[in-house]
Amino acid sequence: MHSQLYPFVAIVGQEKVKRGLILNLIEPRIGGILLCGEKGCAKSTIVRALGALSGVKIVDLPLNTTEDMLIGSLDFETAVRDGRRAFSGGLLERADGNILYVDEVNLLPDSIVSTLICASVSGENLVEREGISYRHSSRFALVGTMNPEEGRLRPQFLDRFGLYVPVAGECELEKRTEIIRRRLAFEKDPVSFVERYAQDTEELAERIAKARKRVPFIEPDPAVRELAANFAAQAGTEGNRCEIILIRTAAAIAAYEGREYINAQDIKEAAEYVMPHRRRQTWEKPDEQGSSEQPEQENRQQQEQSRDETEQSPNQNSMPDYRHDEEGQQDGQEMETSGVQEFERPDGGEEQLEEGEQIYLLSAIPSAPRDRLLRKGSGRRSKSKSGTNKGRYAAFTQHKTPKQRDLALDATLRTAAVYQKDRRPTGGVLAIDESDFRYKVRENHVGATVVFVVDASGSMGASKRMKETKEAILSMLYDSYQKRDKVGMVAFRRQQAEILLDVTSSVNLAQKKLQQLPTGGRTPLASGLFQAWQMLKGRRYKDPEMLPILVLVTDGRANAPLWSSDPVEDALKVAGQIQADHIQSIVVDTEQDFISLHIARQVADALDATYYKVDELRGEVLKSMVKQETRRAALLD
């Protein structure tokens, strides 16, 4: 099946992307490239156009790939015909010596990613399954495209991409019009469009072929090696992989430029491709708002890295533990009620509205499931083996579970195939024995249902506290968006809690409701917790396998009781019930006053929650939510 491909040489702009890909054609051992950037920038078009420039094949790894198709499996037809176990190669075999291309690589399921990493590290594919033992070479350049808004990559996986190029659209009007012009011309008459660029294509292909021949003879001299090592050391990268790829890339650059030696400039240029995704992240607190001024691309790269780093700390164990000073807390309790009442006037004061302006990356991922139950759902927060017949078919197993009777026909048939010669000597319909049965293992991403309980009382209006709070929640919402969680939101202020947003998968809606939330009035903490609890209970009733998470954001200055006369007592009581109900909680304490009352900490303990101070959450600043007006204004000038 061939459709006309847009010619590589006809692509306007995107010079770095093009060069990065060409370097990979010249020196395949660079190990591929990750193109990371906004949608609609011809990322896929450029990659697919590569085929015309060299003999290399572009092998597609589609998102629906099952494990056996990647690794290879028993050859069904041979087995039936000859009763012999033969190996039928998978994508890893086809990719050997070629380019393995994954579009939307960040959406690839985990099981496939692991297999890929494995093969890419060892350069071969070792098959031990379905009665087959087989080994073949699998050296490929891994080319991936991704839109960072949609999710992250594991750091080990990130490292498998030799080069990294951030992609953004062209902003110059002239280039933009040329892009439209060429695209329309191509779509109108692809054949003559391709012909028009045939000569340029040929010239480029020749230049690449020459460089390919030259590159094995390029030896880095000691000065160059030292420079590469320096670059790697400065960036704090792990291992020596980075230097080796630096030198290979520099050699490819030199060869492409028609030289037979590497100069310092080559190494510098190579570093722009090799280093960005390998730089080790240091966890410094970003200086307040200033860091949002970074150029966007830079920002995106860092965002990429830091996300991956955060993902490495997978569970609660790595979270800071603040419980050691529990005693001090107890002491503080005596004075707190009076303190709260002093702080807030009985009438609660006026309403204020403060909007959050920045989204930052959470420096700790505040929620991960504590159990490994079979769960269902379609989010991405945690991947579980699905106990239902939903989810993607990832692999197969010999073991039937009571809930899972979803026959993996392909695997069953392969198992039965080898015995056919004995079972049906005369031919005809395949004879399948019960022992041949194989079952589908489905993989599903379980989304959490996160209910945010937001303190919007008067005390939160003090000194920009609400702005910080909103930023914290926005950041958590952003996290939820990437993990496809469902979110709900309860706010408490004045006399009682109100449901701002019932549980929905529209994180956007949650964000809007949050920004419009004013502060003012008393702090009915218990009522807020109670509402959230009811909400989560209701959801769990509908969907028993979802992962309920409660996120309480408060300064803890409870002063409106729910049942009794003691507001704090009531809050602790609800908290205890929530904990007993196996709902996982996170408490974000926004208290920053000189005299701390630590009530939020107590509530956290009653909830058995993970506890954070609001500034502990703050990671890399992701994005200043500056509106587009500036850009528009610039154009109108």
Partner: protein, 335 residues
Amino acid sequence: MERNVYPFSAIVGQEDMKLALLLNLINPALGGVLIRGEKGTAKSTAVRGLCDLTEEIDVVKGCAFHCQPGRPPLCADCEGNEHPETVRYRRRVVELPISATEDRVVGSLNIEEAIRKGKKEFEPGILAEANGNILYVDEINLLDDHLVDILLDSAAMGVNTVEREGVSYSHPSRFVLVGTMNPEEGDLRPQLLDRFGLVVEIRGEQDLALRSELIRRRLAFERDPEDFANQWRPEQAALREQIRRAQESLDQIVIPEEMYLDAAKLGVALGVDGHRADITLLKTAQTLAAFWGDGAVARNHIVKAARMVLPHRMRKLPFDNTDGLPSDLEALLDA
């Protein structure tokens, strides 16, 4: 079955939605329509009504992908076939229910062939059926995530590549993707949003006269669908003719130099991601000119097209609150 379809031209109001659907019918390369809005606004009726407006085409007989000879891309079988036998075929609406399983969507191993003959063959799925047709996903925002990813992949490439259940196969899958959603139940991810050529927002007609007309027609249709269809035959025929002419003239529509600049200007000024918006904007304007019977793309086409092409692409991050086009696009263009 066909006589029970409510005639497209009899739909009252919802002009934006109707226009967006017709433009895609004329030029399938526009990239589909996403209809955002409340229930009971004739979304499904309009989509189902589209087929009656298309001309029959010649497709290869027995081909699961309805390949049109001489119109690449063709499937592997049709590609090698120099003089295939053809049959008449009317484009249809292929529905993708949100409960669909992945194997039905992308296709899977043909079990019968495998068991009877011990052969490994590909059993085409919904994406095969959708090739050359309209793929309709009601409530697309409720579709399982991994299915959305697959749709996104195929819609972008026009090819469905299958690597599963022992089958390795790829076939053309070019379709006009029409999705509907109720924004209150959750949003589509920006990535998928961007793949929709046009997006229209709809709400129930507020005008009383229109509302009562709507009820009157609906009741008439339900009382006697055949008679109703007969009544609307002239309008349907006129619309069909308009579409046919538009399709014929599409390639001849001139795009003046300034219009390229206009499209790019809007893209830059509104801060849309990438270039898909610019390209779709101009293609939509061109199709609009063809539909309205104009010979060249002009400012009014661009402005009208921008309302359908740009709003959903203006967001930079999931939480950017920059929805809504500025009301005066002309001023922006004259700047």
